[in-house]
């Protein structure tokens, strides 16, 4: 194990992934460091979301999906035979492109995860609900209607609720797969602000097609193309003077 891998929260080493015959990830090696926002950018179909999903083993359920190489979480092999994917997903939360609140109350959405993981006292649930809604910058907006349906919230509020729901099981990492692509600019700004706040307590990896979003909020950025990680560097450097011509062409819109 390299020193980088040792200090990384998440690490991939020579990671290959196939969907049947199609090789979607071709020897990816990267580190996601503690308390950083790591952005993955690249054209559609380049493997960004596939890579993100490797970090919480969400590709496991896909028929014909095969993974080779190594993925570690705090140095431990995420794909070891004795690792329970559900435990992985408790420690590594995922936020999806479209907000997906459960069709239940705001409070129950938050309580869902902790209850599954054995929290039964309502007082404890109340504490988790308030804490996570505050962390997700949603408490002030919903504190008087916690028993209303989550579906009644706006898109941006629903996405922050999903973040609060992910935080409710005390993860260490938040994976965000295009979390603002379905939101208006105001809601997007709130999620970006939230991500920047959350990185103080968590580690965040985000997939985005929004180049300005990556440059605004991330500490480091990886550019992927056709299943390969072309470049992974400090965000300021990537958006000022990328090392690779392919990266330069992509972020200046000259690709293809």
């Amino acid at each position: 194990m390299s020193n980088n891998e040792d200090s990384a929260v998440l690490a991939a080493r020579d990671l290959h992934l196939w969907y049947g015959e199609k090789e979607a990830l071709k020897g990816i090696s990267l580190d996601v460091r503690p308390h950083e926002i790591y952005a993955l950018i690249g054209p559609s179909g380049c493997g960004k979301s596939t890579l993100l999903r490797c970090f919480d083993r969400m590709n496991d359920g896909i028929s014909g999906c095969r993974v080779e190489g190594k993925v570690t979480f705090r140095g431990a092999d995420l794909y070891a035979a004795d690792v329970d994917p559900n435990d992985v997903r408790k420690r590594i939360g995922m936020i999806f492109q479209r907000p997906n609140p459960f069709p239940m109350s705001i409070r129950d959405n938050i309580a869902y995860g902790p209850r599954i993981h054995g929290v039964v006292k309502e007082g404890e649930i109340d504490e988790i609900v308030e804490r996570t809604l505050r962390q997700a910058a949603l408490w002030d907006e919903v504190k008087d209607r916690l028993h209303r349906s989550a579906i009644s919230l706006s898109g941006g509020q629903q996405q922050r609720l999903c973040i609060a729901r992910a935080l409710a099981v005390d993860p260490e990492v938040l994976l965000m797969d295009e979390p603002t692509s379905a939101l208006d600019p105001i809601a997007m700004a709130k999620i970006e602000e939230l991500a920047c706040e959350l990185k103080h307590d968590y580690t965040v990896a985000i997939v985005t097609h929004n180049m300005q979003q990556a440059s605004r909020i991330s500490d480091r950025t990886g550019f992927m193309l056709m299943g390969e990680l072309v470049e992974s560097r400090d965000t300021a450097r990537v958006f000022t003077k990328p090392q690779k011509e392919l990266t330069e062409r992509y972020i200046t819109g000259r690709f293809g």
Binding site: M211, Q212, R237, P242, I251, T252, G253
Partner: protein
């Protein structure tokens, strides 16, 4: 990249290069008009400043438009920065070339002992510095930048020597005050041209490498 964006970025690159070429041309002609005491060339050079000022303003407007409309990144962002920062340096080079040319007209062939050899060396040095910086801008390279500091020292020393010479000369020839001032204006303008060439080179260095570099300390 959509055609409209690509066209504006191409125009920005070309307009920056064109203004660089004009500033270089004015420097070359100003220096030559002094060396050859050519009032016609001096007048033609001085008249070109208005065009340089207008092009500088147009360049700034275009750079701002590209920045505000397209949110450029990487090479395009560096180009916008370089255009915004280079324009004033190029305009100042042109302005100082105009001042040299105007001094040639005012001096009207008058000679001040023999300081002209030193001034001609300063002129050649200023011209070389502008050529290095402008060529680098046009070719997006940093070739020759290592020499700029030494060349700048030549201009600084040349100006100090000219001041000493003029001071001594004035003691002996108080009637030559106007000519002395004219010569000193030329040396000051040449020194400023060198300073702005260094400033321009610093912006070009960022354009090329993405890293800020200090040349004129």
């Amino acid at each position: 990249m959509i055609t409209k964006t690509a066209n504006d970025i191409t125009a920005l690159r070309e307009e920056t290069a064109d203004l660089g070429q004009l500033a270089l041309s004015m420097t070359v002609r100003a220096v030559r008009s002094f060396a050859e005491a050519d009032p016609d060339l001096a007048q033609e050079t001085a008249d070109d400043y208005r065009r340089a000022a207008e092009e500088s303003q147009q360049l700034e407007e275009l750079a701002l438009r590209v920045m505000l409309l397209y949110q450029p990144a990487a090479a395009d962002a560096r180009l916008v920065y370089a255009a915004l920062e280079s324009g004033p340096h190029l305009e100042r080079i042109a302005r100082n070339a105009q001042k040299v040319a105007e001094s040639v007209t005012r001096l009207d062939g008058a000679l001040l002992g023999d300081p002209s050899v030193g001034i001609e060396r300063m002129g050649g040095t200023a011209e070389e510095m502008v050529r290095i910086a402008v060529t680098a801008l046009q070719e997006q390279s940093t070739a020759g930048f290592d020499r700029l500091r030494d060349l700048d020292d030549i201009l600084d020393n040349g100006r100090r020597e000219a001041e000493r010479y003029a001071e001594a000369h004035l003691h002996e020839h108080p009637e030559a005050a106007e000519v002395c001032i004219g010569y000193l204006e030329v040396t000051r303008s040449l020194e400023r041209i060198g300073d702005h060439a260094c400033g321009l080179a610093e912006k070009v260095a960022f354009l090329v490498t993405g890293v800020r570099r200090v040349i004129d300390v």
